[in-house]
């Protein structure tokens, strides 16, 4: 079981809702993944007319929604988006996402920190999407973030755990849950992140753009379970030299 803020999750696989060919496929994939938390881009929700075609089926499905501030280019815009989502969706959870760079969509560490501080002070459950920067994760934790979401590689690229070295440091140091977000491309990447000790992973593009998104969602679900079990079982250390399972010098100590 994983606890973040005021919620407890049995599944450690979080999903996204973007890039699917249609709403039904999105819902079927989320169901197959077993995910209990799905991110939703606030910029896609139609607040003007109500009865939003993206939001309504998600609410009806019962999955917890994690509104994200994708599209925000600075702290002010992100804070506004978070307040809007709280008012419209009735949740104080927010995935804080600020990327002023439209090419690689790199999260802005300065603006993210400023917005996180403000939103935590306002009582939001803040999950910031950040580069795999251990110091920044410390700082975000200090201002009250409920989890940190470092990227594995650039968002939407399916390149896997390019930031593994830094993810290990973040996982080792964090006092809040670490959700590895962005760039996870294959179930093996998700499994590896969980083996490293991540508390959860968030996957969107790798599922939504797979040939069979529903089948792929199930594969990710299995991989996350296996990875977590391996972590809990204690993944054995690696070594450069061979370690014999039958020691050659045992006799010296058997007197």
């Amino acid at each position: 079981m994983l606890t973040i803020g005021d919620k407890t999750f049995e599944s450690r696989l979080f999903t996204g809702t973007g890039k699917f060919a249609n709403q039904q496929l999105m819902l079927d994939a989320i169901t197959a993944s077993g995910s209990q938390l799905a991110t939703l881009a606030m910029k896609r929700v139609d607040f003007k007319t109500g009865g939003d075609e993206l939001l309504t089926p998600l609410v009806d499905s019962g999955v917890n929604l994690l509104p994200n501030t994708s599209g925000a280019r600075n702290a002010n815009e992100a804070v506004f988006a978070a307040r809007l989502s709280k008012e419209m969706l009735g949740t104080n959870w927010v995935k804080l996402e600020i990327h002023p760079d439209p090419k690689y969509l790199m999260p802005d560490p300065v603006e993210t920190f400023l917005a996180a501080k403000q939103l935590c002070e306002e009582g939001f459950i803040v999950l910031p999407y950040v580069h795999a920067d251990p110091v920044l994760c410390h700082r975000l934790e200090e201002v009250g973030c409920s989890a940190v979401m470092p990227l594995a590689s650039p968002i939407g690229t399916n390149q896997g755990l390019d930031t593994e070295t830094f993810l290990k440091i973040i996982i080792e140091q964090a006092q809040v849950p670490v959700v590895v977000d962005a760039g996870i491309g294959a179930p093996s990447d998700a499994c590896k992140a969980m083996e490293l000790g991540a508390d959860a992973v968030l996957v969107n593009t790798a599922i939504a753009t797979a040939s069979d998104p529903v089948a792929m969602a199930k594969c990710f679900a299995d991989a996350v379970v296996t990875g977590r079990q391996a972590f809990e079982a204690g993944v054995a250390q690696t070594s450069v030299a061979a370690n014999h399972t039958s020691p050659l010098t045992q006799f010296l100590f058997e007197k």
Partner: protein, 368 residues
């Protein structure tokens, strides 16, 4: 420094020679590492790339899918005026054309807005002829709040403005500006623009610099395919895009690839681009720039548009009218050019869904 300073150092004749001397070997090399690589773009736009169209299309489709998913954004042009103080021999709005002239007042504008909203659109492109005195910044500023209150994303395609004028509109929530150079070949440009402010090639060329400095979120570039050698025009636009992306890294970019269409009193294309050529262009730009938005207008036929879905385009217009007031009062012969796809929005949406794409009506929150 503006792009015109960079442009002066580019030798179009030399570039053209390079384009037409590329070989199959150059294209193979370009396909390995095309992103952000101008040398690769030259090869991919060259005649030597023709035998590789299928390979380029496969790559382009797959890159587009990864970056944008199965989403296709829908928008509609909203023509507010056909007044124009320029003489351009390819455009129905050209000053000397004896057509009825019209600028929408607020009541007429509201009628258009209501009809567009009823069709389901939330993104609009506000378009006008280029008449600085009668349809200038004061007019745009006066109507902007009315348009913005109805739509989440409002782009404009009007005459080049000054930086502070863009900034004024930006304060009112302007989301994007489309500014098409028409042709990057200066002698050709001079031949087609014979009167009015549009004659100033460099002022137009530097418009994206002014837009970016004014803090506008997105800039759309474009060339009118058919005025001159389309391969060279597209390549020069690629240079422009690369310059802008490097310098204004916070800005988003889109391109539009309109083919010259018949219009009242219009000319015939000098250099016609085939469907094959258009596909080559779309794919070459997708391979060159994976995050680029590529628009497809109703200038193209239904058959071609349906086949282009998923190949690289990201934004589509549907059921467009190119005349001011044309949604409320169609067929009043005020239009800028003829459209080729006159299917209803719902028909186009059905095709998109049948081909496995999700029509996206809203993908921006104006209030931010």
């Amino acid at each position: 420094m503006n792009f015109s300073d960079v442009f002066r150092s580019i030798e179009p004749d030399k570039l053209k020679l390079e384009l037409y001397s590329k070989t199959e070997r150059d294209v193979r090399k370009a396909l390995v590492n095309p992103q952000g690589n101008i040398d690769a773009l030259i090869a991919l736009l060259s005649p030597a790339a023709t035998p590789f169209i299928e390979q380029m299309a496969q790559l382009s489709a797959s890159l587009t899918r990864q970056r944008f998913g199965a989403n296709l954004a829908l928008y509609l042009p909203l023509y507010v005026s056909n007044l124009c103080a320029n003489e351009c021999d390819y455009c129905g709005f050209t000053m000397s054309n004896k057509i009825k002239r019209k600028t929408l007042n607020q009541t007429e504008l509201q009628q258009e807005i209501d009809i567009i909203k009823a069709k389901g659109f939330d993104h609009v492109l506000l378009v006008s002829g280029e008449h600085e005195t009668k349809v200038g910044i004061d007019y745009f500023e006066a109507i902007f709040a009315q348009v913005k209150s109805a739509f989440s994303h409002v782009a404009i395609e009007v005459q080049p403005l000054k930086q502070d004028e863009y900034a004024r509109l930006n304060d009112h929530g302007l989301d994007a500006v489309m500014i098409y150079q028409e042709t990057y070949q200066q002698r050709t440009y001079a031949r087609h623009h014979t009167r009015g402010k549009k004659q100033d090639f460099s002022y137009r060329l530097d418009t994206p610099d002014r837009i970016a400095r004014a803090g506008v979120d997105k800039i759309g570039l474009g060339v009118l395919l058919g005025l001159d050698d389309w391969r060279l025009d597209a390549l020069l636009m690629g240079h422009h895009l690369a310059y802008l992306e490097q310098k204004y890294w916070r800005t988003k970019y889109s391109i539009s690839l309109p083919r010259l269409r018949p219009c009242t009193g219009g000319i015939t294309p000098k250099s016609e681009i085939s469907d094959l050529g258009l596909v080559q262009l779309i794919c070459a730009f997708r391979l060159f720039n994976q995050q680029l938005e590529i628009s497809l207008s109703t200038r193209e036929t239904p058959e071609l548009r349906d086949n282009l879905l998923g190949l690289g385009v990201t934004n589509l217009s549907a059921e467009s009218s190119t005349e001011p007031g044309g949604y409320a009062n169609p067929q009043s012969q005020l239009d800028q050019f003829e459209i080729s796809d006159d299917r209803s929005t719902q028909e186009i949406v059905q095709v998109m869904k049948a081909k496995g794409f999700q029509p996206v009506w809203k993908d921006w929150e104006a209030a931010w």
